[in-house]
């Protein structure tokens, strides 16, 4: 895999995770490159979503979880005790599988976090940020007249784009996406896949998907997980055309799901 000229944005060193006594991640070493789309693939239960959630410390919310190892963004350890997890999540945002707009207006959905983080002040500055975020998510034309309406009144695909806009508004460096299109119809899926490609210019995108074709379509790099191990990681094209590991080949050719 060619790595010259590539900046490592997020890096994990020997990351291990246990749910109680059950070890779910067995020492993951992974470099995620800046302004690229990296996809995690693998059969269910392989640990890809668990690993994703380690990158923004969402696993901290589960009381039975124990983590060892390092995760660094731009060389800074996000698990360092002096670091406030709130600050980590501002830098590393997340979009979930089920669209989860807040029971508030579209405007408030987007404006809430930036205002709390003091990125903008209320008023025209905020309006501008909201519009920019919605435009970046490709949703502006559809909602520009409906900003006061509740976010939950939108269709599934629109809601997910709203969630993406919401994540963008916080001005993160990295956007994590946990199976963002698996609950959506094919047309919405395509819109969001196109969006991802646009967004990588400004952000680093990491997406978990159970749909290999999606990884093949959008991702620059792909990581294949299996039973808590990172089996193979490389440029997407090379992974799909000429996988190095047997397991990878078996998964890609559908020998197990």
């Amino acid at each position: 895999m060619k790595t010259e000229g590539l900046h490592v944005k997020v890096q994990s060193r020997d990351l291990k995770l246990w749910y109680g006594d059950n070890q779910a991640l067995k020492g993951i070493n992974l470099d995620i490159f800046n302004n690229k789309i990296t996809a995690f693939i693998g059969p269910s239960g392989c640990g890809k979503s668990t690993y994703l959630r380690c990158l923004n410390r969402m696993n901290d919310l589960i009381s039975s979880v124990r983590i060892e190892g390092k995760v660094e963004i731009d060389g800074h350890d996000i698990y360092d005790p002096s670091v406030d997890v709130v600050a980590v999540r501002k830098r590393i945002g997340m979009v979930f599988q089920q669209p989860n707009p807040f029971p508030k207006s579209i405007y408030e959905n987007i404006a809430y976090a930036p205002l709390m983080h003091d990125i903008v002040k209320k008023g025209p500055e905020c309006d501008e940020l909201v519009e920019k975020a919605i435009r970046s998510a490709g949703l502006w034309e559809e909602v520009k007249d409906k900003l006061k309406q509740p976010g939950t009144a939108l269709s599934g695909g629109q809601q997910q784009r709203l969630c993406i806009a919401r994540a963008i508004a916080v001005q993160p460096d990295v956007i994590l996406m946990d199976e963002p299109t698996s609950a959506l119809d094919p047309i919405s899926t395509q819109i969001i896949e196109n969006l991802m490609v646009e967004l990588k210019e400004k952000f680093t995108i990491v997406v978990v998907t159970h749909n290999m074709q999606q990884a093949a379509r959008v991702a620059d790099y792909t990581a294949f997980f299996h039973l808590g191990d990172l089996v193979e990681y490389g440029e997407t094209e090379q992974m799909f055309v000429n996988p190095k590991e047997d397991k990878t080949e078996q998964y890609i050719t559908g020998k197990f799901g």
């Binding site: 923004n56 969402m58 919310l61 709130v86 600050a87 980590v88 999540r89 501002k90 945002g93 997340m94 979930f96 089920q98 989860n100 707009p101 807040f102 029971p103 508030k104 809430y112 976090a113 709390m116 983080h117 939950t152 969630c163 919401r166 994540a167 916080v170």
Partner: protein, 402 residues
């Protein structure tokens, strides 16, 4: 008698079966069939007789009643044992009978509601025939003493007519309820938030039963606590500040009533907040919001319909509460803004009207029914709204986020 019927029925059925003919139902069911159809007519006769004598329509000597019942039973027994054959659909008949019986039981709850409604409306109607309705709803003077005298048979023409303006009483009820809610809602809701969001499972399991104990304390006990402990405390406290407070202050009754309502609000709110899906919480946390911000901006608004329903339920409970106010609030209707004043409520007046010595149909007694009617209607409306809110809350979270 019925036992004999059962045996005969079963015996006949077995004999038929022994002949090898195909039967429709089991022998046991035939037994029950015969029992029912002999016993029931006999019982009906008895019941009719009792009702007749109750209403004073006709008085049938008990012996004759029993004789008639037995005769009827014997008659049907004979008829059935002769006519019953393998074609008798005993099973279905017994089944339907039981179904009917159960339905009757279910009806009793409806009869009860109508009973309450009927008795209250009926007597309240009598009241409004005598006293003015407008005066009742809008009048501010409640002075029924001459009605009491009249009811006890000593009315004079020169005594001023009784006035039944209920506004001070309504005001007292609402004021004390308001104080109670001012205590119960903040404490109850915040307690629920802590239980639902912050407390560990172990702590939750220990604390929830404690709250249930608080909820199970009889209101008369709260009333005692209010009158004997809280009231003197309040009076002394305010006295030390140089303010006069009544021993029967609205504040005392209101505070204790609030304590009583805390578990209602806390428990229901806790359920509602816990059932807000985690997905929404995660969305807020992933944006870099901390827990408190997430609760305030996302969780609570989502739970709001349920919380409002809980508050309404609390209000309804407070409005209808009797013992605490009877023991700790005042007896005189008093239209006042001062929470340290004594004032009275609808429920106190109802009790007062009923335990006096006047005749049942004096205006004072009937006034109690009029007050009861108002209470019934108001609490009914509040409860309907509350149920509707909870239902729509559950619907919202069943459909979305599938």
């Amino acid at each position: 008698m019925l036992f004999i019927a059962f045996i005969v029925g079963k015996g006949r059925a077995i004999s038929i079966r022994a002949k090898g003919l195909k039967m429709h139902s089991q022998p046991d069911q035939y037994g029950w069939f015969v029992t029912l159809y002999t016993g029931l007519p006999a019982m009906m006769v008895g019941v009719v007789g009792v009702f007749l004598s109750l209403f004073g329509v006709a008085s049938i000597p008990p012996l004759m009643l029993i004789g008639a019942a037995l005769a009827l039973a014997a008659f049907s027994l004979y008829g059935l044992s002769v006519k019953m054959n393998e074609k008798t659909k005993a099973r279905d008949l017994v089944e339907n009978f039981i179904k009917g019986l159960l339905l009757l039981a279910a009806f009793i709850s409806i009869i009860t509601t109508f009973g309450i409604l009927f008795s209250i409306v009926f007597e309240a109607f009598h009241f409004f025939q005598r006293e003015s309705f407008i005066g009742f709803v809008f009048g501010t003077t409640w002075d029924p003493d001459s009605a009491f005298l009249a009811g006890a048979g000593r009315g004079h023409e020169d005594v001023a007519a009784a006035k039944f303006g209920a506004v001070p009483i309504f005001a007292g009820t609402f004021y004390i309820t308001a104080i109670a809610m001012a205590v119960a809602v903040p404490i109850g809701l915040l307690s629920a938030i802590y239980l639902a969001e912050y407390a560990s499972d172990k702590a939750r399991n220990r604390i929830k039963p404690a709250l249930e104990i608080l909820a199970g304390i009889p209101t008369v006990v709260y009333g005692f606590f209010a009158a004997i402990t809280v009231a003197p405390l309040l009076v002394n406290f305010f006295r030390s500040l140089g303010i006069d407070a009544s021993f029967e202050s609205a504040l005392g009754a209101g505070i204790v009533m609030g304590i009583m309502i805390i578990p209602i609000i806390a428990s229901l709110s806790d359920d509602v907040i816990s059932s807000v899906p985690n997905n929404i919480r995660n969305g807020s946390l992933a944006l870099g919001m901390n827990k408190a911000e997430t609760i305030k901006f996302v969780v609570l608004p989502s739970a709001m319909p349920g919380v409002i329903a809980a508050v309404l339920l609390g209000v309804s409970r407070a409005l209808g509460e009797t013992m605490i106010v009877v023991m700790a609030a005042g007896l005189r209707p008093n239209l006042s803004w001062n929470p340290l004043d004594d004032m009275t409520t609808v429920t106190v007046k109802i009790v007062q009207a009923m335990v006096g010595d006047q005749a049942f149909d004096s205006s004072l007694t009937l006034a109690a029914f009029a007050l009861g009617l108002v209470l019934f209607v108001v609490t009914l409306i509040i409860n309907v709204i509350s149920v509707y809110l909870i239902r729509s809350f559950h619907k919202k979270y069943k459909v979305s986020n599938l």
